[in-house]
């Protein structure tokens, strides 16, 4: 709500806000954070499988984005630029979590919003999806989420990840195949 109290123009474009931050109006960055918090947060939550790790990676991405704002060549595309930073932060956080041996945990807040008939089925479905995502190699999970959940084009994904388009297509394909296999296995159990 803070961003609608008159300090920032509600409809200010990303470019306008970025220019104001660069001119010394640090408070304008609040509007950018509020604008992208949930959208980028969704990627981090699914990529890392842990809300605490996701919020930490998200916070880190916003801070690094601020400190490196001079390198944002196209302020109107601030969101896409910030995505690249978050993808990198998630890679780092994911590697750290893997070293800790952390397992994906159930997200109870998401469970309550799942559009499925019964709590038991919701819980089972959510657990199965999370465990299936966790079983994907990080680069497959990353490609699957960017393509199918965040709806990015392959050239944008290539820019964000540094991988080639053909490699990304292969990762998405493998991710889909592995998810199908995992769910077939789950059905047999």
């Amino acid at each position: 709500m803070a961003q609608s109290l008159g300090i920032h123009h509600v409809g200010a474009s990303d470019g306008e806000l970025v220019r104001r931050v660069r001119a010394g109006d640090t408070g304008a960055y609040t509007a950018l954070v509020a604008r992208y918090r949930d959208r980028l947060g969704r990627y981090a939550v699914h990529m890392l499988g842990d809300r605490e790790d996701a919020e930490e990676a998200l916070q880190d991405a916003f801070v690094r984005g601020y400190r490196s704002l001079a390198r944002c060549d196209d302020p109107e595309r601030f969101g896409a630029w910030l995505y690249g930073i978050l993808v990198n932060r998630c890679r780092t956080a994911g590697a750290r979590a893997a070293r800790r041996g952390r397992l994906f945990v159930r997200d109870d807040a998401a469970l309550t919003r799942a559009p499925l008939p019964s709590p038991a089925e919701r819980a089972e479905w959510d657990d199965t999806v999370r465990r299936a995502l966790a079983r994907l190699a990080p680069e497959y999970r990353e490609a699957f989420l960017l393509k199918h959940i965040e709806d990015l084009e392959y050239d944008e994904m290539a820019r964000l990840t540094g991988a080639g388009i053909s490699a990304l297509k292969m990762r998405v394909k493998r991710a889909r195949e592995q998810l199908q296999l995992i769910f077939r296995e789950a059905e047999r159990v």
Partner: protein, 184 residues
């Protein structure tokens, strides 16, 4: 209970596409963390440059040698680690002076930016070796570690170091290079 093939993928996608609400406290934590830091301006002020130039430091450098001109490319970068000062601290914490050199024949101003100065173009302006000359230099004390860096020419053109490894994990969309400073 689960459908096969494409139906499964569609259902997973629909499930994962639901909005996720992140704790709004993230906003205040971000703003607290960036408060007090430098404003991320593209070009720096004279006072910051003066502060950088007049800040006390202890530097010992080896002489530059064999600097080639990268005609047409606009820039050539060399990094030459300096000899350690006589009263250097222990190796694991030692700060060594590094001279960054860039050849930018038509530049009006050049800044060195990197992890060591929060990518703030105001903090490390480079100086031409002679008035109107193409060679720009800056000296930065670096502790052991891995640093990404780049050169900002005339406030808008980013140059990586063609003689150094590219930063493959760079996340900001502009070219940058990596220097690794050893602990001994």
């Amino acid at each position: 209970m689960f459908e096969h093939s494409e139906n499964v993928i569609e259902r997973i996608v629909a499930h994962l596409r639901r909005p996720v609400q992140i704790d709004p406290a993230v906003d205040s934590r971000v703003m607290e963390e960036i408060a007090g830091g430098p404003t991320p301006r593209v070009s720096g002020g004279a006072s910051a440059a003066w502060h950088w130039l007049t800040r006390p430091r202890h530097i010992a450098l080896s002489p530059l040698g064999g600097l080639a001109i990268a005609a047409g490319l606009g820039a050539l970068v060399l990094i030459l680690p300096g000899r350690r000062p006589h009263e250097a601290p222990p190796a694991e914490t030692a700060t060594r002076a590094f001279q960054f050199v860039v050849v930018a024949p038509r530049a009006a101003r050049v800044a060195l930016v990197g992890d060591f100065n929060d990518w703030d173009a105001a903090r490390t302006p480079m100086r031409p070796s002679q008035r109107g000359g193409p060679v720009w230099t800056a000296v930065v004390p670096l502790s052991p570690g891995r640093y990404r860096y780049a050169f900002l020419v005339d406030g808008s053109r980013w140059l990586a170091d063609p003689a150094a490894p590219a930063a493959r994990d760079d996340e900001f969309g502009t070219p940058s290079s990596v220097v690794t400073v050893g602990g001994s």
